[in-house]
């Protein structure tokens, strides 16, 4: 009996607390849609991205919100299923009436959500999708928060020429994946533009387990390439690097942000020495300044170090939208779109963001990460001089 009344009192207390909390946060927040694939195939990218975005929103609210109003991240799980993504697009835009949408790290889900946002005139900032074709495919309300693949491929090429003093290369690409196919295309264009020679090119598929045929061809080629460019996705890169080294090829291996996964060191181990990849940001315990602050805050909030660069991109995307709302001085989607397009030198964890006139892909520095003795280090940060057309 005592127990029962006790629990009733406790319940009453919780009720009051909940009511108070409810009233405090009901100061008419500005809603930002957060569309992420938190389960399914893309969870490893979108999960950290969502955490990063939520952290940014919490930080802004702790500092008093934007224009005197708090921000609210309305999160939906797309479950890596296009049918669900079109449904949640409608929920975000038509039911929740969000002022802007951020989310997704791949072009498929972006293309599923984008048209709905575009039709309603709501700005949509893709967190980690790097296909530079997206803004033109969807329309003038579509923005990318990270560089396009043409930019990172260009940096890969110019890094190889200036830092690795390379003149010739051999390209290996994954043809079962849009990202890798485009990356390879952009890389070859830039490398030849900058005076390099592509000695040969070979392909494989994401699910392949043995690359012996391709590697034998590289070994057999008359002229030895100065380095090998491998356009790969996270799940295969470790295996490829290990097999290339086992075959006795010691040249540097260069690639894109698909390498930005713990699997590179876990699978390839010591074989990963002399691997270089272009990515959004280099976040480790030893980072300094804003990146260090971000690293620590993330660890405090989620009990783990940022899993990959997508955590930083999620954070930056939320900050980007918050900054646009502040400059627009309104939660009107059309004004936010205009303000977004005028973004200039907004500091971010994954590099400062500016949009050149007419372009909705940010001009950003690209970080080059290298591997030495089973550890990653920041090899360079470059802005490309020549970028191939998307």
């Amino acid at each position: 009996m005592v127990f029962k009344s006790l629990s009733r009192t406790a319940l009453f207390g919780v009720a009051i607390a909940a009511c108070v909390a409810g009233q405090a946060s009901a100061a008419d927040p500005i809603k930002i849609g957060g569309a992420f694939n938190l389960t399914g195939g893309q969870a490893s990218l979108d999960g950290p991205a969502k955490n990063g975005a939520q952290m940014a929103i919490d930080a802004i609210n702790a500092a008093g919100g934007v224009n005197g109003r708090p921000l609210e991240l309305v999160v939906y799980d797309g479950k890596t299923d296009p049918a669900i993504i079109t449904s949640l697009a409608s929920q975000l835009i038509n039911s929740d009436k969000v002022s802007a949408v951020i989310g997704f790290s791949d072009s498929d889900p972006v293309l599923a959500l984008g048209p709905t946002a575009q039709k309603a005139g709501v700005p949509f900032v893709a967190v980690g999708a790097t296909s530079p074709k997206l803004p033109d495919q969807i329309g003038d309300h579509m923005f990318l928060a990270c560089f396009g693949d043409n930019t990172q491929a260009a940096v890969g090429a110019s890094f190889a020429i200036t830092e690795l003093k390379a003149k010739t290369t051999y390209v290996l690409e994954d043809t079962a994946n849009e990202y890798a196919t485009l990356l390879s295309k952009y890389f070859r264009e830039t490398f030849e533009q900058l005076g390099g020679t592509v000695l040969g090119r070979d392909t494989y598929k994401t699910d392949d387990k043995s690359f012996a045929a391709q590697i034998t061809k590289i070994k057999a080629s008359a002229q030895k390439p100065d380095f090998i460019y491998v356009a790969a996705t996270p799940d295969t890169i470790g295996l490829i690097v290990r097999q290339i080294r086992q075959a006795g090829l010691k040249q540097p291996i260069v690639g894109g942000d698909g390498y930005d996964t713990p699997l590179l060191l876990e699978v390839a181990g010591a074989a990963a020495n002399n691997v270089y990849y272009t990515t959004h940001s280099f976040i480790t315990e030893t980072s300094t300044g804003a990146i260090k602050t971000f690293y620590d805050a993330y660890k405090t909030a989620y009990g783990t170090a940022p899993e990959n660069a997508f955590a930083a991109l999620g954070y930056d995307a939320a900050m980007l939208v918050a900054d646009a709302i502040k400059r627009a001085g309104s939660d009107d989607p059309a004004k936010i779109t205009t303000a977004l397009a005028e973004t200039k030198d907004l500091p971010g964890i994954a590099g400062a963001i500016s949009y050149a006139a007419g372009s909705r892909i940010p001009v950003k520095g690209v970080t080059v990460v290298g591997v030495k003795d089973k550890a990653l280090y920041k090899a360079a940060e470059l802005v490309p001089t020549f970028v191939p057309a998307p």
């Binding site: 919780v14 009720a15 449904s87 498929d108 495919q137 043809t175």
Partner: protein
């Protein structure tokens, strides 16, 4: 009397399809469109899987072919030039409306089903399941490699998104009508006798291969039509859209409702869609007065899986087993008459 009832039902359904989009939110309309498309897709599976006893796991392969064929045919000429520059001449200059593209997609699937079915429909039991699953994987690989037709692994985009509620309701009704005419006819009896006992069916002179092939290819036709509708609903899709996850979700709807019942098909689609949408919205966190549950993303799949296990324990042959709503009414009438 019955005919009048059916006509009245159809008329009110048509009225709903026209009027609902004006009243309810866009989100609900989208869900209803998905329900209708899934009725076509799951309906396409029940013919072979439920009524003929050929448990095909390859239906999603036909859905994929339907979506891509119709997508290629209905892409605008400008989009075709930029997305698919290497298309052969006879395709590069075609821009079709959705209806003919959908019908052609269905016919292409039926034709492929006859070619594929000739060897596969000789198999029985789980052999046919594995073989048809192989077909789905082959379709996936072909789509990824047929770059000039499908953009390979890249997203196929630019398909006109012109699926409206009246349109898909029409297709769902037509699909159920065609299936009902086929299933509750002498041909339908032949399908079921092939399912129940192959040897007995042969003994009374039924061509087992021909009967199975009919069910398989008609199912493929509907799958192609459904795939085209799905493609025109999404607007952009890739080879991964039509793979194991879609297959599992369609089979869940089919088995939950009851594989050999058209009422089961419709119920299975509605129940699974309603439940998964409800749970998806609940998992985002609930605030009911004093009680508030934090968001638990992924919980909806877990709960749905558990529910599915419970249904399989208590109703292993699905909610409707092999009965129809109409037969339930008839039985009641008989009981009240006696």
């Amino acid at each position: 009397m019955n005919r009048i009832l059916i006509l009245a039902g159809l008329a009110s359904l048509a009225l709903c399809a026209w009027v609902l989009p004006l009243i309810v939110s866009d989100y609900v309309v989208r869900l209803l469109i998905m329900v209708c498309i899934n009725i076509v897709l799951v309906g396409s599976m029940c013919l072979a899987n439920g009524f003929t006893g050929v448990f095909s796991l390859g239906q999603v392969g036909f859905v994929a072919i339907g979506a891509y064929v119709s997508g290629i045919l209905s892409l605008s000429l400008a989009d075709k030039a930029s997305y698919l520059p290497d298309l052969p001449m006879f395709l590069a200059h075609i821009e079709m409306a959705t209806l003919p593209a959908t019908l052609i997609a269905g016919l292409v699937c039926a034709a492929i089903a006859i070619v594929v079915g000739l060897p596969l429909m000789r198999l029985s039991g789980h052999h046919v399941s594995v073989a048809t699953m192989g077909f789905m994987i082959i379709v996936n690989v072909v789509i990824i490699n047929a770059d000039s037709f499908t953009r390979g692994a890249r997203t196929f985009t630019g398909v006109p998104t012109d699926m409206t509620l009246p349109w898909v309701v029409g297709w769902a009704v037509l699909a159920i009508f065609l299936l009902a005419r086929l299933i509750y006819s002498p041909i339908g009896l032949a399908l079921r006798s092939v399912r129940e006992d192959v040897i007995a069916a042969q003994a009374v002179g039924l061509p087992v291969l021909g009967t199975r092939l009919l069910a398989f290819s008609f199912g493929a036709f509907l799958a192609g039509v459904g795939g085209s509708l799905y493609g025109h609903y999404l607007g952009s899709f890739s080879a991964q859209t039509f793979f194991f996850p879609l297959m599992v979700s369609l089979i869940t709807m089919l088995v939950l409702g009851g594989m050999s019942s058209l009422s089961g098909v419709v119920t299975g689609v509605i129940v699974v869609t309603a439940l998964s949408e409800m749970l998806r919205n609940l998992e985002r966190g609930v605030h009911l007065g004093p009680v508030s549950i934090p968001p638990l993303f992924g919980a909806s799949q877990v709960v749905l899986g558990l529910l599915f296990i419970l249904v399989m324990i208590y109703r292993p042959r699905g909610l409707f087993e092999d009965r129809e709503i109409s037969s339930v009414f008839k039985r009641r009438k008989q009981r009240s008459n006696s």
